[in-house]
């Protein structure tokens, strides 16, 4: 009547053992974490004695997966950035203007004189001298379009050209905007990842969220503003010829030139040629260093084509100043002393050591294609996280002890079976979290505590049912059997509804809420498993050995 097949017993104990095995590393958190870090360090930079000793502190054959601690427990910074994807449209139109001008120039007889007009960002507006030549102008402009393959399958071009009166308007097409947005966000994601990797922190989370957002979580970093400095800087580096210096920011720079402020010197402006000689994209390396006076500086090296252009330019312009521009500010404008072959150089300015190190990191990782704006930022100090872990631990232990006492007093021996199942339950939650690499957050701890309270529910349902069946049924064996059979429907209904809630929380929540949903959901699965299988197996094993005539639950 109450038989459980041997293979089922083996499977149940096997799952329990596996759960305990995978949960075990979490009991030695510090040691296992040291082991994992050491192994990673050895892979990266080779072994040394200290690292090997650290790696050997935890045996290789044991699992080393740990429950990740969320930012609220470990401390660190969280940023939600929005990529200003429309920045790129503007850059595209600026780049298109010379191209369009060159294409229209041979047609001057039909279209007349061409002049660029002011337009809103992302739109290029050109006035032509002969309105009658508009058809030809449109044809030429459309000739510049590139095909775009959109997701919907329809092939379109990247620009839309329209004409009205004597004004020709060019802007990006809908399909190209979508494609461009996607490219911009993906590039930004890649560059942010490279920059954070350069700084080298542990397990950063860098995720795309929605169409134009990026979520960045870096444990162990001091503050969100520190993180913002690393990823928020666009780091567009250009080398531009200097036309003149000025103290007037509103000075008319002349066609093809621009006015940019100096980074260090207040009130000093440079008039530069707009077209750069070389840009940051030509760099292959940048390192922090010191100049001949011992001041912090950044040395850099160009790739082959960049080096050639840089060499040629310096050879032709000895004695002229040359501006190094970062994000529209002139870092310095040294005078070219001699021809610089080989494509390497040094950037000096009023840097501190930190600034030069950071600039080198930014230059190596590359420039962001668009600016970022930060919608959400959170910093959690490591000591607050440690406090939370400590408080959570104590609360868990007390909750555990209280629930176990309560169960023992209420159901006697069966209560103790339920308590064993409860311990297994928590071990399974940690084992599963370690295997799937789940993250434990502060609300997640609350989820575990709630699960401790609720995990006994399934047992309570069964035990109460057994009590009832004992009044009517024929003998304890039958009562236990009926108790389990009849409680099953209620257990499943009750847990499925709660599980639905956990799934919705996971799908719609973020960060800590999601952590709560994970432990709640896993807790429901493991508690149903332990109540239906583990407690039952314990009872059956006890029953087989003792064969009691009467039963007190």
């Amino acid at each position: 009547m109450m038989q459980i097949d041997l293979w089922k017993r083996v499977v149940i104990w096997g799952i329990v053992a596996l759960g305990l095995f995978y949960a075990a590393p979490n009991l030695f958190y510090g040691r296992v974490e040291g082991h994992n870090d050491a192994i990673q360090a050895i892979e990266m930079q080779g072994a040394n004695d200290a690292l090997t000793a650290q790696a050997e502190a935890w045996p290789e054959w044991l699992p080393s997966g740990l429950v990740n601690l969320g930012l609220d427990l470990r401390g660190g910074a969280h940023l939600l950035a929005e990529v200003e994807v429309t920045d790129v449209y503007e850059a595209r139109m600026t780049a298109l203007w010379p191209e369009l001008r060159d294409a229209l120039r041979p047609e001057r007889d039909t279209v007349g004189a061409i002049r660029r007009q002011n337009a809103e960002p992302g739109v290029l507006r050109v006035q032509i001298g002969e309105p009658s030549g508009m058809a030809r102008a449109l044809e030429v402009a459309r000739g510049l379009a590139q095909p775009v393959v959109s997701l919907t399958g329809g092939a379109t071009t990247d620009i839309v050209v329209t004409g009205e009166g004597d004004v020709l308007t060019v802007q990006l097409s809908e399909a190209e905007m979508i494609a461009s947005d996607d490219r911009t966000v993906r590039q930004s994601l890649e560059i942010i990842r490279r920059r954070i990797d350069e700084v080298g922190t542990r397990e950063p989370t860098i995720q795309r969220q929605g169409s134009d957002r990026i979520l960045i979580q870096v444990p162990g970093i001091g503050s969100a503003s520190e993180l913002k400095e690393i990823i928020g800087t666009t780091a567009q580096l250009t080398f531009q010829p200097v036309v003149s210096r000025s103290s007037n920011p509103d000075e008319r720079p002349g066609i093809g030139n621009e006015v940019l402020p100096s980074l260090d010197e207040e009130g000093v402006y440079y008039i530069l040629e707009e077209a750069p000689v070389v840009t940051g994209e030509d760099l292959v390396d940048a390192q922090p260093s010191f100049d001949q006076n011992g001041r912090p500086a950044v040395t850099f090296r160009f790739g082959a084509s960049g080096a050639r252009r840089f060499g040629d330019y310096t050879a032709e312009n000895i004695g002229n100043p040359f501006a190094i521009v970062l994000d529209d500010e002139v870092i310095s404008a040294p005078v070219i002393q001699s021809h610089i072959p080989g494509g390497s150089g040094i950037i000096t300015g009023n840097f501190t050591v930190e600034e030069s190190t950071q600039l080198a990191v930014l230059l190596r990782a590359g420039a962001l294609p668009a600016e970022l704006s930060f919608l959400e930022e959170r910093t959690i100090g490591p000591e607050l996280g440690a406090d939370s872990i400590e408080a959570g631990k104590i609360a868990c232990i007390v909750a555990f002890a209280a629930v176990m006492l309560f169960m023992g007093l209420s159901y006697g021996l069966f209560g103790i079976f339920a308590n064993i199942a409860l311990l297994v339950n928590v071990a399974l939650i940690f084992g599963l979290l370690s295997i799937i690499g789940g993250t434990l957050t502060l609300p997640g701890i609350a989820g575990i505590v709630l699960t401790i309270g609720m995990a006994v529910d399934a047992n309570v349902l069964v035990f109460e049912r057994i009590r009832e069946e004992l009044k009517t049924a024929r003998g304890p064996s039958r009562a236990i059997q009926l108790g389990y059979d009849k409680a099953l429907s209620a257990i499943l209904d009750a847990n499925i509804t709660t599980f639905i809630v956990a799934v919705i929380l996971f799908a719609l929540g973020s960060g800590p809420v999601r952590g709560f949903a994970i432990t709640l959901g896993l807790g429901i699965m493991t508690s149903v498993f332990t109540a239906i299988f583990v407690t039952r197996l314990l009872i059956v094993m006890w029953f087989e050995r003792r064969r009691p005539k009467t039963l007190e639950v």
Partner: protein, 325 residues
């Protein structure tokens, strides 16, 4: 000896005071809605944007001095509260400073945090900033929507599931009990002005999950009894059901509450609001599954003959109980 929360065989009439309990529930719901409408909720920055800074200092905190230090920055609405927790010693003085979202800023104000930190350091040199969180208005608006979707989706999913497993009357009863619990929790948050943020929404959803769990267990037994005692008055049948499941209801609520109270007292101040919401919800949820959900089912009436398979209902069962009756 066994600990028993309820006597072995109870035969309490849960409907004797039905008029009063239902009246009390309706009154509580109305009062909660009124508190929500007139007092309003103390929304955290998740929902209205702004910045919160948690500070820690060995010196005693004088809120007035902090306020004066921040005055010149002209930050608009600034609230400063001291946080107390039995876990803090005499040399740990914690304060929470909340600053409203700055005018005309879609995203997080850039220098705000640095300025505030510098200003506070002048009055309390040893001050440390253990957590700083800023949410821009753009995100907070979306977070509100997501929270409403989450609650709505959870309730709809449960409504559907109960309808699938039982009958529509049960669905209505269960969802009425859920709304009752959620609204009463919102009411308490409004009256006590506890911070209402994303974690509170998670707590509300947990309450939804727990309350439905409790209600479903009673419904499940009710369905079983409907098959077992075909001739019994529905009212008596329900009383029998609640009496039969009462021990379990109180045991489960008891163990869960014991665990939660441990967390409430010892779990630290960071999640106290969250844990409080769940604790309160479980008390209310236990009450509502006994007094709200089934009263509504009784009012709506229910199909009595469950013995023959009925093609018009969607009810499905995991086990075929009733063969031992």
């Amino acid at each position: 000896m066994r600990l028993r929360l309820v006597p072995e065989n109870t035969n309490w009439d849960f409907f004797r005071y039905a008029r009063y309990t239902l009246g009390a529930s309706i009154l509580a719901v109305v009062l909660s809605l009124a508190a929500w409408a007139f007092i309003g909720l103390n929304f955290g920055i998740d929902f209205r944007g702004g910045t919160t800074i948690r500070t820690e200092s060995a010196q005693a905190i004088d809120i007035g001095t902090y306020r004066d230090a921040l005055q010149p920055l002209e930050l608009g609405d600034v609230s400063i509260t001291q946080v107390f927790d039995p876990g803090f010693g005499a040399d740990r003085n914690v304060a929470m400073i909340r600053i409203q979202a700055q005018e005309g800023e879609e995203s997080v104000a850039a220098d705000l945090v640095a300025n505030v930190e510098a200003a506070l350091q002048t009055v309390a040199p040893d001050i440390r900033f253990t957590s700083v969180e800023s949410v821009g208005p753009k995100v907070s608006g979306e977070l509100i929507l997501t929270a409403i979707y989450a609650l709505g989706a959870a309730i709809a999913a449960i409504l559907f599931y109960i309808w699938l497993r039982f009958e529509w009357q049960f669905s209505v009863g269960a969802v009425a009990a859920l709304m009752h619990d959620v609204i009463l929790t919102i009411g308490v948050f409004s009256v006590l002005q506890i911070r209402f943020d994303l974690a509170t929404i998670a707590a509300l959803l947990t309450i939804v999950g727990y309350s439905i769990n409790d209600t479903v267990v009673i419904f499940d037994r009710l369905r079983e009894n409907l098959i077992k005692y075909r001739k019994m008055e529905l009212r008596d049948l329900m009383n029998l059901t609640v009496n039969e499941t009462l021990s379990r209801t109180l045991m489960t609520s008891g163990t869960t509450l014991v665990a939660l109270i441990a967390l409430l007292v010892l779990g630290g101040d960071v999640i106290r609001g969250f844990v409080f919401a769940i604790t309160w919800g479980i008390v209310v949820g236990t009450y509502s599954s006994v007094y709200v959900a089934k009263n509504i089912v009784l009012m709506l009436g229910v199909k009595r003959d469950w013995s023959r398979p009925d093609k018009t209902t969607a009810g499905t069962q995991f086990t075929t109980s009733g063969d031992d009756a």
